[in-house]
């Protein structure tokens, strides 16, 4: 106390009033504001990214749900389709799609004439505005309705993808200079036919329900069959991952003694949840395809791989749900004479069911969007064209899956497929959003607080 002496040099800045802020305080407050602004900026960046992503997806993808159609009256000439006039189905079948091309060409020229469009193009070039699948569509109709031969029938053909792109603004007159699929003269005809109402854009259900098409016909490609592939995979995942996951969680949570084996299993599950998904693909390729000789590209194999991948997720959420059931429930059940097994299966499990279900749905949603392991077991690279008819066929015949189909489209050279890839993402996200919403609703509705 004695050596206290006022310092000889006074402080450089003297605080004279409490009401004015010193420089140091100002600096500290500015720092504070800056720090807070960084936080706000970070959140804004995150949300902005989400917004950009959503806007991109919907901006680029909604076009896929609309398609350009050409409505034509086609005269089903008897002289071309059934020369004998006997309506013998075998004779009619003998005529290949080539034989139908003149009918389409004729119908196109007739439409041009009827609407008074002035053009120097030949009828073949005019018919080039239609999808390459138009003749097949016509042939299928005639084979199904041979009695219609000789009549004039109205058809709605898909327009080829450049015409579709032109109507949607993807293809412009500048961009087609070196394009051998379409010419500026053809686009003039398109303009005239749009004005006449022959060519129009409308909702395309085939994009949702149809099958993939070859890379020559982007206008005909659809998600339907790959959706079925995903559906069968999810069936496998649900049938295997839910019972196995719940059984494993019940054991670990309710019965397992505390010893090193249990520890190993628990550490193992935590680590499996973080193994990259592609490693599961390698496992599937090595074990299910190379070793067990299950068919390549089959949804069964995809489902098995995704089951292994989803199991840790389901186990972790099921254990959390079981843990949330208070011990008093178990004690009460044991107190009235139930066995340990009965207390778990009759009392704890039903109370944990909403939580288990929520976790399962979230696990399924995760599996539905997974692509990487599917690449390795061959669920890409071919055209999934036929919808499976039976459960066995659905599980074993080669198919694609929604994300794999999107990847396949993104790889193709024709930009018309990009629009379909974005459209496919919209469908995939709709499924995911629905599943997650159901999970949230289930949790809100049935969650109990003890």
């Amino acid at each position: 106390m004695t050596d206290f002496s006022p310092s000889s040099t006074p402080p450089t800045s003297v605080q004279t009033s409490l009401l004015t802020l010193s420089d140091r305080t100002k600096k500290r407050n500015a720092n504070e504001r800056r720090f807070k602004a960084y936080g706000i900026a970070a959140i804004a960046v995150g949300l902005l990214m989400l917004l950009v992503l959503v806007v991109t997806i919907f901006g680029r993808g909604t076009g896929a749900f609309q398609q350009t159609f050409v409505t034509l009256d086609v005269e089903l000439l008897e002289s071309k389709l059934d020369k004998t006039g006997e309506r013998n189905i075998e004779d009619i079948e003998r005529i290949s799609t080539f034989g139908y091309a003149p009918l389409v060409n004729g119908a196109m020229s007739a439409a041009i004439e009827q609407h008074g469009v002035d053009t120097s193009l030949k009828s073949k070039q005019l018919a080039g505005l239609l999808s390459k699948g138009a003749v097949a569509q016509l042939r299928a109709y005639v084979l199904a309705n041979p009695q219609q031969i000789g009549e004039t029938v109205e058809f709605r053909f898909l327009a080829q993808s450049r015409v579709d792109g032109y109507l949607k603004g993807r293809v412009s007159r500048d961009s087609i200079e070196n394009d051998k699929n379409i010419s500026a003269a053809q686009l003039d005809v398109v303009d005239a036919l749009v004005a006449a109402g022959v060519i129009e854009k409308s909702f395309n259900l085939d994009f949702i329900l149809g099958s993939d098409a070859s890379d020559q016909r982007p206008e005909a490609a659809g998600m339907g069959v790959s959706m079925l592939g995903s559906f069968f995979m999810m069936l496998v995942v649900l049938a295997l991952a839910l019972p196995i996951g719940v059984a494993a969680s019940i054991y670990l949570e309710e019965f397992a003694p505390k010893n090193w084996i249990t520890d190993i299993i628990e550490v193992n599950i935590a680590n499996l949840a973080a193994v990259p998904s592609i490693v599961y693909g390698i496992l599937g390729l090595a074990v299910f395809i190379n070793y067990m000789h299950l068919p390549m590209s089959a949804p069964l194999v995809g489902g098995l791989v995704l089951t292994l991948m989803t199991l840790p997720t389901i186990i972790i959420s099921t254990r959390a749900a079981l843990k949330a059931v208070p011990p008093s429930i178990r004690d009460a059940a044991l107190g009235v004479g139930a066995s340990k097994m009965q207390s778990v299966f009759h009392h704890v499990l039903p109370l944990a069911a909403p939580g288990i279900l929520t976790g399962t749905i979230i696990g399924l949603a995760q599996a539905l969007g997974e692509t990487a392991p599917l690449l390795l077991i061959g669920m890409v690279g071919f055209i999934a064209s036929n919808a499976p008819e039976t459960l066995g066929e659905g599980l074993l015949s080669p198919n694609s899956a929604m994300p794999a189909q999107i990847y396949e489209w993104a790889k193709r050279a024709d930009p018309a497929f990009y629009e379909r890839a974005w459209g496919g993402i919209i469908i995939l996200l709709l499924f995911l959003v629905t599943m997650n919403t159901v999970a949230v609703v289930l949790r809100r509705r049935f969650e109990r607080r003890w």
Partner: protein
Amino acid sequence: MPIFWLIVILLALTACGYWFGRSRALASANGNPRELHSLPVYYGANVAMSIAIPALMTLAIWLLVQPMVIESRVSASLPSEVIPENTSIGLIMGDVRRLSDGLDEVVAQGFLDAKQALDLNSETTDIRATLGEVGVALGSDVRPEVLAAAQQYRQLSATGGRAMTLVCLFLALGGLVLSLRKTNKTFRARNVVERGILALLVLAASLAILTTVGIVFSMLFETINFFGLHAWRDFFFGTTWAPNFRGDSELSMLPLLWGTLYISAIALLVAVPVGLFAAIYLSEYAGSTVRSFAKPLLEILAGIPTIVYGLFALLTVGPLLLKLFGQGEEGLLGLTWMSGATSVLTAGVVMGIMLIPFVSSLSDDIINAVPQALRDGSLGLGATKSETIRQVVLPAALPGIVGAILLAASRAIGETMIVVMGAGAIAKFSANPFESMTTITTRVVSQLTGDTDFASPETLVAFALGLSLFVLTLGLNVLALYIVRKYREQYD
């Protein structure tokens, strides 16, 4: 008999067994359930489990083991001179398997009956053409030794299949008879059934271990094969990645590892600051309204499938970056740094966006776990909120945050779709983020898709890469969990 029908029969037997067991127990107690030791359902379940569990398990194990046994017997009987220079036994066995599957298909479609198929002679019939008719394509003409091996393969499979059916049915019927004989009113059915259920639960839990073992062994075997064909020194320490399907490839991991780490580093450079500041703001500043909408919205980013990010990189971010940094005079900045849409930067930025919620929600939890007393103490001493966070909260949460970043890094290293679509396919050492580079996961995908030949080092290298990836991510995860756990003990 197809396995499907075998399973149906077993299940039908099980259902019958349940009903028999239940009614027999009731009959032994003269229809009065009170005289039974256990509830009637337990007697039924006991019989059902005695039928189904041994039979189905034998079926599963048989299906796993049979191919292995047959394969080893057939390959042992192949004379060694059949194997030409520089191919392996695995290649020949592939032919044998394809041929025998093809012959089965021929019989199934009715081109030949079973006896004709067994008497086939490669000199008198053109087997390749016959198989072609049913849609089975063979790479080369069939040699007599291979045909003999294929016939042996078919015979062994057929015998094995018959034996399996008989054994399974025998086990099921045996289980039915034995358990029915034990069923009477004093039998302690519940205890037996519960012990059985417990065993099933243990089995389900050990499937997790089985998966890990499966992952490690499936990759380990092929990796060992790979190191038999290719020097391990070159794989780990070489500097060139140049697979060449005529052989003589240079396959080393280092350029791929460099690409992987570079892209992951850029991703973390994007994700860590944004995620960390978002977490700090959400946990320390934001009111409950902001928190309740911003947090779930950010977490949506984590729920979006990676294929969507991949497409976003390929079709949106890549072209945008190209417009900014490439295309010279036509571009926005007049730069010519970038020559294509795929680059390290493209993949890194998009992956960073994906990882934002991962970093933010993990760090959010960790920051929230810091005891309030520390904050109160610091604020009480006159520190501003940001000073408290920077000098008290963050140092306290640091181990946890490091753990979170390590987990995010392991995610980035193992991510596949974004790099497959956004990073490119050229393996090289370069520090230029505008160049396209390739990663471990991309190469795994490209070496294992399409036609794969499991005897060539170009295919097998994918397993070595996969194993390295597994070890790398596992190491990061274990390290992260260790750090997080250690940190947690300080406050609990």
